[in-house]
Amino acid sequence: MLEHLVGITDLAQLDGFEELDIDTVEGLLDEAGRFCAEQLEPLNRSGDTQPARVEGNTVVIADGFSEAYSMFVENGWNGIAFDPAYGGGGLPWTLGVTVQEMVHSANMSFALCPLLTQGSVDMLMHHASEEQKETYLHKLVSGEWTGTMNLTEPNAGSDVGALAAKAVPAGDGTYRITGNKIFITFGEHEMAENIIHLVLARTPDAPVGTKGISCFIVPKFLVNADGSLGERNDVSVVSTEHKVGIHASPTCVMSFGDEGGATGYLIGDENQGMRYMFTMMNNARLSVGIQGLAVAESAMQLAAGYARERKQGRPIGADAGAAIVEHADVRRMLMTMRSHVEAMRGLMYLNAEAMDRSTNGTGDEAAAAASRAALLTPLSKGWGTDSGVEVTSIGIQVHGGMGYIEETGAPQYWRDSRILPIYEGTNGIQALDLVFRKLPLDGGNAMRSLLDDMSSVARSTDGGPLTDLGIALDAAIGDVETVATWMAGAAPNDVAAGATPYLALTGTAAAGWVHVMSAVAAQRLLDDGAGDTDFLSDKIASARFYCGQFLPRTASMVAACTAGADPLYAVAAERF
């Protein structure tokens, strides 16, 4: 996929990625995979049964996590895709997310800690002063310190603009931060020697809403001029949440300023916090999509292993005592899981590739890549995590009654994945992002360009053995266009009403596009007599299954996309 779909080695032609070759990529993935399988995966179930809990002024994390985290940091996996100027590996984001996928597949609770650090690094890289970068970035990139994002408050969730945390200038250039934050992932722990909280708060005269939000660095331990750690800051954990999943990941209620005010350092200018947040949002949202993919992959592997072993019933046409994998319905479930996981992976790697081309490319190409990344991001996050929940749910179903029993491990993947459509912008918000920000992007040209690329992929199958796939893709492209055209002329709330089905429609069509591209690449290799024949023909089979059985669903989604708001408001609010 990296070699023939994404063209990872082509990225080596971009500035800064010269060290990339396919042997290096394979070596990295092999060793990262081995580390994840041997050190992180064995802690996944045990972490699930030992939820993070507050003890004294810290949070106790499940057994083994701290040692595993130290090893993760020592082996340098935290910073592989960050800037070499701060000790990072300088690899393309495309490769960063492939390793991120493996870490999440092995242990999503564990992986959340470096994921939040990633958000902090992104924010500081783009907006912090040189001095702040020097102070914090080296250790955040290495993972010796971890990062958090403090946005949410009890009355400010999806509506970040409603937040009330205060930041008052202390007269020495620093600020005193007071307020409460909730849902703070890895807000407190002792796996690393320091935690760098990035906190959104309002200065005294700030305008209301999102225009009055500023972003501050609030270290758990203040950092002295020589880089050593000083006194503990006035920030503390109040409690951890009892959650559906990701039990080993502490989701903290944090209190700032119980003793008069936590010391905070302003990033950039006052009232620019929300704008700064947007610069890291694409990366963060893609990473959440990657989480959906990662957990779905694990659920699929578990289900496939069970289906090959478990004997039950006599499948039609099979010998008595055959495994349940021989039942048609079980095959349907496994093919559904497989074709979705492969499409998710292709879509998200292409999303990451567009990000790399936008940051390390030049001129018009970089600008076009930035638009492509912006357009694909709500699909990766929204469609990708909805699919993740669906795939992990099917993973339970494959296990039958045993799927409802925790010891199989199947329910954990489903429970862990259930947060993904919620955080980092709910999937409802992703859908609104798609229809209100991304459809009109570049005067509609971002979507136009994607549809053109999809069409040329469909065209490339004409007259060949994959023509049926191309025809199915063409029809789906037509459905994406039909709704886009309708939305361009519709009233805002009618567009909003169709946003979620349109995200599903567009995601499905994009998945078909990825599958047809994969199938074309696989067919070309088969024709050339190159590569693993089984692997390549399986790719085509998966693509044909998706294009034959899922892609046609886009036609049925058009009606929901274009029905407008009236049907949703036909029952009065108080009668729900």
Binding site: E19, G27, N75
Partner: protein, 259 residues
């Protein structure tokens, strides 16, 4: 301190292996990986050089098709360089032939200490390390679980059925390392990126002054005459515990002379 480690690159044990029916030798057409039983020697070598405050770790390997994947893994762990002997004439080489080839390659390295695994995980002859020492005319110590070096002498704890022997011997020497005696480090990200730039000296048998007739199928004194499938595992005995289960288990273990 200059340490050489003999490492074998073998077919991935996770993938079912295949024998070539015409020669009864293992099919090695796919990518080869570092034999896990050699990773302990690599780790010990790295620790010895770190303890000595300097030196180098050189890998020596013999593999078909100039295969370097397994070497890259050991280089990523921290080894400095490698000598790879790859030559079409080597297909079918037996244990003694392998020892001659590796001995000649090691002669070019001139190490103070040579480490090797006790036996490979694909061939299991368990004779190559001692044959290398014989070919090179140096001391050989087997089944090491701990190695210390100082003033040209090695102190070795040599694992035995009853415990361990303490052995001292002068360098240069060849020591075979028991599997599992140390926790091999993971290749770090920086190690992996650095590994691809580390030198791998690729040589053929002519470079080592070895005649093709002395190696390969032609020079092999070892012949696999027949291959039979391993016996299928029999169903275990189920003991129903009616209060005496512990005694049955104890008797069974005593019968196996485990207790």
């Amino acid at each position: 301190m200059k340490v050489a480690v003999c490492v074998k690159q073998i077919p991935d044990p996770a993938v079912p292996g295949e024998l070539d029916p015409s020669t009864n030798t293992l099919n090695r057409d796919d990518k080869l990986i570092l034999d896990e039983s050699d990773s302990f020697g690599v780790e010990l070598a790295l620790q010895l050089v770190e303890a000595a405050g300097g030196g180098s770790v050189t890998l020596v390997s013999m593999a078909p098709r100039s295969e370097v994947s397994g070497l890259r893994t050991a280089l990523a762990m921290g080894a400095d360089d490698a000598v790879l002997v790859s030559d079409d004439a080597l297909a079918g080489t037996d244990a003694l032939g392998t020892a001659k080839v590796l001995g000649a390659a090691l002669g070019r390295v001139e190490p103070d200490l040579i480490l090797a695994g006790v036996e490979s995980s694909d061939g299991y002859t368990g004779t190559v390390p001692e044959q290398i020492a014989g070919v090179m005319g140096i001391a050989s110590v087997t089944f090491a679980k701990k190695i210390e070096a100082s003033d040209g002498m090695l102190s070795i704890q040599r694992q035995t059925d009853d415990g361990y022997d303490e052995v001292t011997c002068p360098m240069p020497a060849l020591v075979s390392v028991t599997g599992g005696v140390v926790e091999p480090r993971y290749p770090s990200f920086k190690g992996i990126m650095a590994a691809k730039k580390k030198p791998v000296d690729q040589v053929g048998i002519a470079d080592l002054g070895i005649d093709a007739s002395a190696v390969g199928f032609a020079g092999s004194r070892q012949e696999t005459v027949a291959v039979v499938d391993a016996e299928a595992r029999e169903a275990g005995e189920i003991v129903i515990d009616e209060g005496e289960g512990f005694q049955r288990i104890a008797d069974f273990l005593a019968e196996l002379k485990v207790i």
